[in-house]
């Protein structure tokens, strides 16, 4: 199905199943531990051997030799596959660093060998017997130093944000120089780790020249093609299966070393082999959100109208890597006639920087929205009012491009009202509650709404069961449930009449999960397949498809009503289709908007920051399932709170690696860090997004939240910290006397 005109009325609008806060249909499996993840496929690959991955001990250089003699002789060892035994393997979709093969070390903990043994304990012990001789080389590991020679480059985050190296509208410098009120400030954001709870893991098994990978991957279509390319196989000889993915956040958009090594090890041993990256390996072996240095300049008239805005970001990456697209939102969010955005890229030999939840917008809004807070203060304006004053119903860089829906103002005003924003004392450092200095902060949220081609197959059987098959993944996003809701709505059956099967490369290729495009795109694909199935059913029952109403397990038209199942009495009816997004997605700008409000307490003595209240208001099209969508938003808020207050991969700039490479060293928020969270969805449908009229919310929640926290800290203390995360050491020197 081509989606090239705005959606008109369709069966989804009935909202009998879609749009309801349905419990997840996979909930009973996840809560009982019976949902199978990649390393747990005793059912599919019994008697798998265990692969244990070795990471490079140097950050840059060459591997001279690897002595595996002792490891091979160790008890239980079946094989040792080393990077020197393997020609350099081609990179898959979105890979920057090479994953395995050859003698070149591009980053710390790059995979250099996998030891395969009968048991996990044996593989792990033998891995310590492998002796590696390195020829280290000097590398660049310090972003601040490398930034000096960084060059502007165009980029696409692969998840919906990007642009040219430098983009200009009007005369920024001239207008900035003329502006009566200006801000020119530089901020930094830290390297961050996805730290999903399920490590990257794959079980691989060969059957002749065919290989199956049970793997933890967000994008089966990409992964399928990538593995085929990497192993030099036709796609038909490769199968990927990922019914459950234990979190990804962009870290599993692509094939990683676990999948490659499991496949190679299984080939080498003639056994099924399973490989999970050990936790201490993950931060350096895989990818991370790159640190940024961002400069924001804003010029405004005295009444708060922005006349000039510039946002420049510098980040580092390995050769062939992209910059963090942190300036993207600044092209869309606020009005202003004279504009500059630029992304510079420095060469760094740290591990690969790549997409992490809301790449671009998460660190970009973390900075832009502090700058807006600073600017509002300079102008003597309320931060909410300042944002409303500079709202724009057209894309500021392309004035003839309208937003399909843009209710940022609605988000801001409703949020301010519900949160009690009016009670905020605009003068910072004034409110105290016992040991706590209390402050309120807010920020706008923006995330573009990407759409991706997405396919599905739908089958109706003689019992009236509708089975949906698509390679879409559920990485915690609720895909199983919203896909079931979509099929139930379309076919007029109850939710328990729908079976959803996901994550298998034998199924039609979907959008996959990333860039908050998954929910809208994949359900639109299911919608398309259901439209076809409805036609097949109607034809079978002698109805005109356009007149037939599918409801309550029946198909009705005029005064005839026939049970849906009857159409499949003579055999299953199967339909398959793919939604393809045409120019309708480009004629107007389809984006999502929100507003975050946060209250923090800052310990008057120690400067520890604790979040006390959080509210997000989102305008993101039709919400397919308010329960799981809300979870997506609060989850983004949690991760963004981590970025605001604690998350930082600590770079050893001498040795070239992230030193705090486990979950004790890299702190992410725990229960005690997070208060009760509130989310409000504005009632919105967007016919330009898809037949579902829905948009993404999975990344909107993280976009802007860090700045809301930082602004609340400022309001509490009067201390402006421009370097994330806002750990207490950055506040202490400026804290007022506590007593």
């Amino acid at each position: 199905m081509k989606f090239d005109t705005p959606a008109g009325p369709n069966p989804i609008d009935r909202l009998k199943v879609v749009g309801r806060p349905t419990d997840r249909i996979d909930g009973k499996y996840k809560t009982t531990g019976t949902a199978p993840y990649a390393y747990e496929r005793h059912d599919a690959a019994p008697d798998a051997a265990y692969g244990y991955v070795l990471g490079s001990a140097i950050a840059k250089g060459r591997v001279r030799s690897i002595d595996t003699a002792s490891a091979r002789q160790a008890p239980g060892v079946i094989a040792v596959v080393t990077t020197l035994d393997t020609p350099r393997i081609e990179r898959g979709v979105m890979n920057v660093a090479y994953l395995f093969g050859g003698d070149v070390i591009q980053h710390y903990h790059q995979a250099i060998a996998v030891v395969v043994a009968e048991t996990f304990e044996q593989a792990r012990a033998a891995s310590f017997l492998v002796q590696v001789d390195y020829a280290p080389e000097a590398g660049a590991f310090d972003l601040a130093a490398a930034a000096k020679t960084a060059e502007p480059v165009p980029a696409d985050s692969g998840e919906g944000s990007g642009g040219d190296g430098e983009e200009r509208v009007g005369d920024f410098e001239g207008a900035f120089a003329q502006a009566p009120v200006t801000l020119d400030a530089t901020y930094t954001t830290a390297d961050e780790s996805h730290a999903m709870m399920e490590p990257h893991a794959t079980t691989a098994a060969w059957d002749g020249d065919r290989v199956t990978l049970w793997t933890s991957n967000q994008m089966i279509g990409w992964g399928h093609g990538s593995i085929a390319k990497m192993l030099g196989l036709p796609k038909a000889k490769v199968r990927l299966d990922a019914p459950y993915v234990g979190g990804g956040f962009g870290g599993k958009l692509f094939v990683r070393a676990d999948a490659v090594l499991a496949a190679l090890a299984a080939k080498a041993t003639g056994r099924a082999v399973k490989v999970a990256l050990t936790r201490p390996l993950i931060a350096n072996n895989t990818t991370h959100r790159p640190a940024t240095i961002q400069r924001v300049r804003i010029g405004a008239t005295r009444d708060g109208t922005i006349t000039a805005i510039a946002h420049e970001s510098t980040s580092g990456n390995l050769p062939d890597g992209d910059p963090e697209t942190a300036v993207n939102q600044t092209k869309f969010l606020y009005a202003g006639a004279n504009r500059l955005t630029a992304m510079k890229l420095a060469h760094l030999d740290l591990p690969e920087g790549n997409a992490m939840r809301a790449p671009g917008e998460a660190p970009g809004l973390a900075v832009l929205e502090i700058a807006m807070d600073e600017m509002a203060e300079k102008l003597g304006l309320d931060p909410v009012a300042f944002r409303i004053r500079n709202d724009s119903q057209v894309v500021p860089t392309q004035p003839d491009l309208r937003f399909s829906q843009r209710d940022l103002v609605g988000c801001l005003t409703l949020g301010a009202e519900r949160f009690g924003w009016a009670k905020r004392n605009p003068k910072p450092g004034q409110v105290r509650d016992g040991q706590w200095l209390v402050g309120l902060g807010m920020a706008a949220a923006f995330r573009d709404n990407m759409v991706m081609k997405s396919g599905a197959r739908v089958r109706l059987d003689s019992r009236g069961t509708v089975t949906v098959e698509t390679d879409m993944t559920d990485i915690g996003t609720g895909s199983y449930t919203i896909i079931a809701q979509t099929a139930a709505e379309m076919m007029g059956v109850s939710l328990d009449q729908v079976v959803v099967r996901l994550g298998d490369s034998d199924f039609p290729v979907s959008s996959g999960s990333g860039g908050q495009f998954g929910a809208n795109s994949s359900t639109a694909g299911v919608y398309a397949a259901c439209v076809k199935l409805r036609e097949a059913v109607a034809q079978k029952l002698g109805f005109n498809a356009t007149d037939a109403v599918f409801e309550a397990g029946e198909v009705r038209a005029g005064n005839r009503a026939i049970p849906l199942a009857e159409s499949a009495a003579g055999g299953d009816l199967v339909a398959e289709d793919t939604i393809e997004f045409g120019k309708v997605s480009k004629e107007q700008q389809v984006s999502t908007f929100g507003a975050h409000f946060v209250e923090v307490g800052v310990d008057a003595y120690t400067a520890e920051v604790r979040v006390r209240r959080m509210l997000a208001v989102c305008a993101a099209g039709r919400i397919l399932n308010p329960k799981s969508a809300r979870s997506q938003v609060i989850g983004g808020m949690v991760m963004g709170t981590g970025a605001a207050l604690m998350e930082e991969l600590a770079v050893d700039t001498k040795r070239g690696f992230f030193a705090n490479h486990d979950l004790a060293g890299y702190e992410v928020p725990v229960h005690a860090d997070i208060p009760r969270q509130e989310v409000i969805f504005l009632d919105e449908v967007d016919p330009r997004s898809s037949p579902m009229k829905a948009k993404g919310v999975g990344e909107l929640g993280i976009s802007g939240i860090a700045a809301a926290v930082a602004n609340a800290v400022y309001n509490a203390t009067g201390i402006r910290v421009r370097d994330y995360p806002l750990t207490l050491d950055k506040l202490l020197d400026r804290m007022p006397d506590a007593a």
């Binding site: 001990a57 140097i58 304990e121 792990r124 012990a125 310590f128 201490p280 040991q435 310990d603 003595y605 120690t606 400067a607 520890e608 604790r610 207050l645 604690m646 600590a650 770079v651 050893d652 001498k654 040795r655 030193a659 705090n660 490479h661 486990d662 004790a664 060293g665 702190e667 992410v668 928020p669 725990v670 229960h671 005690a672 860090d673 750990t727 207490l728 050491d729 202490l732 020197d733 804290m735 506590a738 007593a739």
Partner: protein
């Protein structure tokens, strides 16, 4: 993890003898730190002596009005013990500020004293660390050191003792009781139990090889407000950046020890007389010889302000 043999003796003497008489043997109790380190081959025992069958899991009053805590009393149970809650609040608070519920259910009194540093270079076997591998250098000195020691370190090591319980025990003047393989018992004041790294950072404590901790005794309770204030980046389940264990009177007089700042719980008794004068007066003396890195110098101000918070709490 290297393969190891395993036994579970039933008396402390047998256990001590088993470790003394077996090459590369170690005791295991809760295992929450030892197994963590064995998986990374930072610890490589070839024989484990499981001490969980020894009893040593009760808290008993002593004749002097104090408490004798069995080496195998779990952190959860010690923190929940009525006498500890009533008379040794600083200890209960310190225990409850440490780790997580799951870990406290396993971790023991003796094991908590023996937990090793969380320095990232100690944990990364590809990096130089004199504590892990004597002579391999200290990568932390010019590396990532935000969490590490500001005082009492050496050119060989700036690791911290990561625990909370020991800081409270330090302010309580606890005594560690041991037995060795020959059956000889020893009482070690907590002040002498943990050592400074000097040029032997591989030695965390003054325990001799094969010496088994059997108990920790606390003297009779010290009156005053018992405070354990732990400062960390996240609200729970994190190691201290700085902690303060204090027993303070209304006028601020009392005792204080600091955690997260040194290779051992850090206490300077001579400075305690100045507690009524305020945090700055005490911190200046306690940290007079501090040698922080540029990444952890904040700990000096933090320690002072955290002590200020404790004094404020005591005066309230």
């Amino acid at each position: 993890m290297k393969s190891f043999t395993y036994e579970r003796p039933t008396t402390p003497a047998e256990a001590a003898a088993a470790v003394a008489g077996t090459p590369d043997a170690k005791f295991i109790a809760g295992g929450t730190n030892l197994l963590d380190l064995m998986k990374l081959q930072i610890e490589t025992p070839r024989h484990l002596v499981d001490v969980n069958g020894l009893g040593l899991d009760t808290v008993e009053p002593t004749g002097e009005g104090g408490l004798r805590i069995g080496a195998l009393v779990r952190n959860t149970d010690l923190a929940a013990h009525p006498r500890v809650r009533k008379d040794y609040g600083v200890l209960a608070r310190a225990l409850l500020a440490g780790a997580s519920g799951q870990l406290r259910n396993k971790a023991t009194t003796a094991g908590n004293l023996l937990q090793r540093t969380r320095c990232p270079y100690f944990y990364d076997t590809a990096q130089g660390c004199n504590k892990r591998q004597p002579g391999s250098g200290c990568s932390a000195l010019d590396g990532v050191s935000r969490q590490l020691a500001v005082i009492g370190g050496s050119a060989a090591c700036i690791a911290t003792h990561p625990g909370d319980m020991a800081v409270a025990m330090r302010v309580l003047d606890a005594t560690v009781e041991t037995v060795d393989g020959a059956g000889t018992e020893r009482r070690i004041p907590i002040a002498e139990f943990h050592r400074l790294p000097g040029d032997e950072p591989q030695r965390d404590t003054t325990l001799k090889p094969g010496e088994l901790i059997t108990a920790v005794t606390l003297p009779k309770p010290v009156p005053g407000t018992h405070i354990y204030r732990k400062v960390r980046d996240r609200a729970s389940y994190a190691y201290a950046l700085v902690s303060v264990a204090a027993i303070l009177g209304k006028n601020g007089s009392g005792h204080v020890a600091f955690g997260g700042v040194a290779h051992k719980p850090w206490r300077v008794e001579a400075a305690e007389a100045d507690l009524p004068k305020g945090a700055k007066a005490v911190a200046t003396q306690v940290f007079a010889d501090a040698k922080p890195t540029h990444e952890n110098a904040y700990k000096l101000k933090l320690a002072e302000r955290t002590l200020g918070a404790a004094l404020n709490q005591a005066r309230a």
